[in-house]
Symmetry: D2
Subunit: 285 residues, 4 copies
Amino acid sequence: MDQPTAIILLSCPDARGIVASISNFIFSHNGNILHSAQYTAQPENILFMRIEWDLDGFEIPREEIKNAFTPLAEKFRMKWNLHFSDYIPKIAIFVSRHVYCFYDLIVRHQMGEFKVEIPLVISNHLDLKPVATQFGLNYRYYPITSENKAEQEEKEIEELKKHNIDLIILARYMQILSGKFVNEYPNHIINIHHSFLPAFAGGKPYNQAYNRGVKIIGATSHYVTAKLDDGPIITQDVVEITHRDSVDNMILKGNDLERTVLAKAIRLHLANKILVYGSKTIVFD
Amino acid sequence: MDQPTAIILLSCPDARGIVASISNFIFSHNGNILHSAQYTAQPENILFMRIEWDLDGFEIPREEIKNAFTPLAEKFRMKWNLHFSDYIPKIAIFVSRHVYCFYDLIVRHQMGEFKVEIPLVISNHLDLKPVATQFGLNYRYYPITSENKAEQEEKEIEELKKHNIDLIILARYMQILSGKFVNEYPNHIINIHHSFLPAFAGGKPYNQAYNRGVKIIGATSHYVTAKLDDGPIITQDVVEITHRDSVDNMILKGNDLERTVLAKAIRLHLANKILVYGSKTIVFD
Amino acid sequence: MDQPTAIILLSCPDARGIVASISNFIFSHNGNILHSAQYTAQPENILFMRIEWDLDGFEIPREEIKNAFTPLAEKFRMKWNLHFSDYIPKIAIFVSRHVYCFYDLIVRHQMGEFKVEIPLVISNHLDLKPVATQFGLNYRYYPITSENKAEQEEKEIEELKKHNIDLIILARYMQILSGKFVNEYPNHIINIHHSFLPAFAGGKPYNQAYNRGVKIIGATSHYVTAKLDDGPIITQDVVEITHRDSVDNMILKGNDLERTVLAKAIRLHLANKILVYGSKTIVFD
Amino acid sequence: MDQPTAIILLSCPDARGIVASISNFIFSHNGNILHSAQYTAQPENILFMRIEWDLDGFEIPREEIKNAFTPLAEKFRMKWNLHFSDYIPKIAIFVSRHVYCFYDLIVRHQMGEFKVEIPLVISNHLDLKPVATQFGLNYRYYPITSENKAEQEEKEIEELKKHNIDLIILARYMQILSGKFVNEYPNHIINIHHSFLPAFAGGKPYNQAYNRGVKIIGATSHYVTAKLDDGPIITQDVVEITHRDSVDNMILKGNDLERTVLAKAIRLHLANKILVYGSKTIVFD
């Protein structure tokens, strides 16, 4: 588990010989494949693959793997990424006033569940600064108004770049990010929405659910795209409710869901197990 | 379990003394309360109640209970219904071409799971007539076109009345019932929709779910109202899917859900455990 | 929601007139019943009931309700308890080395989810003292050996009494409490066990589950009795696993379950919604 | 979906080059890999793999694939099986008196959900003969006593052999099969047990569950081994219950679970997606 591995995530038009070529590439340089999974989307006939191999004994130095693999990738017209399991990603958490997801993330981080650094917490409010301080986190305050939004987002991006942020978590951040912002981190911003999307997109989903009289409520983690609550879904979960559940009760039950659904999505992303394809995710769990 | 009981389902503006008055009514006539449940909807302050008592030893003959209870009901301005547990309801099943829900219902009936009679199966197609015949059911064929719809519905209603139908089950019936038809059986037509409503209302929900890339799919049973897929929800359930699930696979998984969700709704209705309130149900399970 | 209420939890041999007598008691003193639920266990014919009413306008002062209700309780040979919704219970949390449940409880408390005081954290290890300190909690260290166990438990009980503890939470406390200890707090010690009991009682349930090759794992909260992992179950939940889940992965998934299952049990207890009957619980949710 | 494919299920000690060798074998004969999944059990370091490829265009005739693959299999010391997706397996269903699983299986078969033949239904009772007759199935009656058990099992085996049965389904068959019988069909007898094993093995699991006061009940499908309710688990599912659920209610809820859990296990087996390893299954879903 602790030995460093290399992971390639790829997609390309399906063709004979792709699996053979990739596994030969690894085997011919004395690599040991630990995990390999593939999926072909139909009717588009596009292959998605995740392959992970042990770096121990692999004869290509890790800094040269990218170049070595490129001819194969070009031959099959792959979109691909190379990851190393021992890389420690840098995460920025965006929060507003709700504390429960924020607490959950930092407690998990504290317990070593996420192998990441959190150099930055960004908020449009000051409410959660004491919690950040309690856990020694760097809290930056960017109040947003309709007038200053573009300007503030630029400062946020600057700050994110400065800290080499790899992944942004919106832990109940109550501002809609602009398309411009989102395009800076495509498929690298994870949001948690408190409904089983596509039901109850937008504001106050628990109130919507209460008014509709549904018997289950849910939570959805997804990558953020320019369109609200419409990005590729990573994980979802639901919990049963009854007519006895007030909106407050639904919030209580739902908050528990949101925490675990968001944490699961983050774990999958950090393990390089997600490929995005159009409006969907391929999750190699 | 086999002893006959009386059940009152009621709703009224909440007020002091309702529970006391009702339980006194039963106790003062030597009735033994077996189940009693109440719920007060807020902020409307409306009381919903289900109370069930043993008819054995109860000093009011069952045909006089209605009259005896009426003064109390009027005092508290109740909407209410009286049911007897040994009444055998008459059910009509509406089907089109999908057989799985139809099979499920008649097999359950065959096994004695539903204490009902099924004097009538109505369809706009002939496809399932052999199955009805195999189980000795009366299958009536009413093909529907845009021209003859009103006329055919009238004939169906006539047939339903002739057989004293208490409850209509739409077991994947692929025609939208007119408002006129629905008003003949308010809160007495149960439909199964193959999505977790309000997500994916309308046609081809599994295709919609596939295209959206959700990670759970569901099924919803609800009372039919004039507005499509919008009636009060009775039961819902979901099942996890992954990117590997084709639409066909989703249908396979979903069909299993639909069957159990529909059967559960029917059981609740037959046990007189459901009160409808606006667009919602109160389910005293 | 914020108005103080009175709650009676009772059990007694079933008989005609119980519900009527109790609701009359409340109504005749101008009380407004907010919730009332009953259940009769068969074949024992024992009635369980929970009734909650508004103290506002109730004509018996709260300190006299107990006396006023006693004749009725004696008439029907009830076992019963009276609770007030605005009472703030005092909780002691027992921990060992696992931090995740402890963190979860104190974060929930911090967020106001539990309306309690936590005057005491007791542990047989020093590991979690820094976390207690971080949240300003009083951490008492009682190392346990086979020699000093009885003696240490006595000191713990003394400390619990000193702080008027109402409820003890074993948040992954890795010592078995003696029968003597348990008898001091019957049905007032809640444990979380990391399996769906009765499967995998005892030590290392995730390893047991891994070795057996089950496809679901679970968590169980229960009241502690003298017999290990055998007390009345309050709540359970499960999560699916596959052959790909290592024991470590199962622990990760399971820990999320344990937290929510334990929190739910505590909420139910604090809301006075649980009656214990033999080895079972009646949960009026 | 309808094109015939070849599937190899294999296990062997893990080693460098296995995936490369197998994918080369397929590619070098112009095969197109449709699905490939592998899993390495730790710490035993055993590789499990399922690989499926299109027979269309594959240059080795299907009757020669086995011989062609053997050298590779021997090199890596594989245990392996070759399957073809267009093979129609022959299934025998064993029943006793409970009809619900039997009905479910034959209705699914009727609807084309299982691509199998059912040449044989075997029972130790005559109760379900009319149902078999209704669906045109061959029903053989072998009453079992402690005296004639060995003898009757021999006759059953003879009958099974005569019909070239590939898979046996115990659809609530209430006799324990002898070790001798089981050894004739290792990992080819699927049972449904009405609890979440290992909880409540043996008789009357719903009564056991009721008495223990659990809050969830379950169902488990597993391959039959000589030891009762102890074989490798294929699928499990659970449903929530409350104190209000009588044993009869639990049976009603549980029967629904049993049907879907059993059907799912059969689907996985028929799709050649299950590898058995010791007391566990590897399910490549």
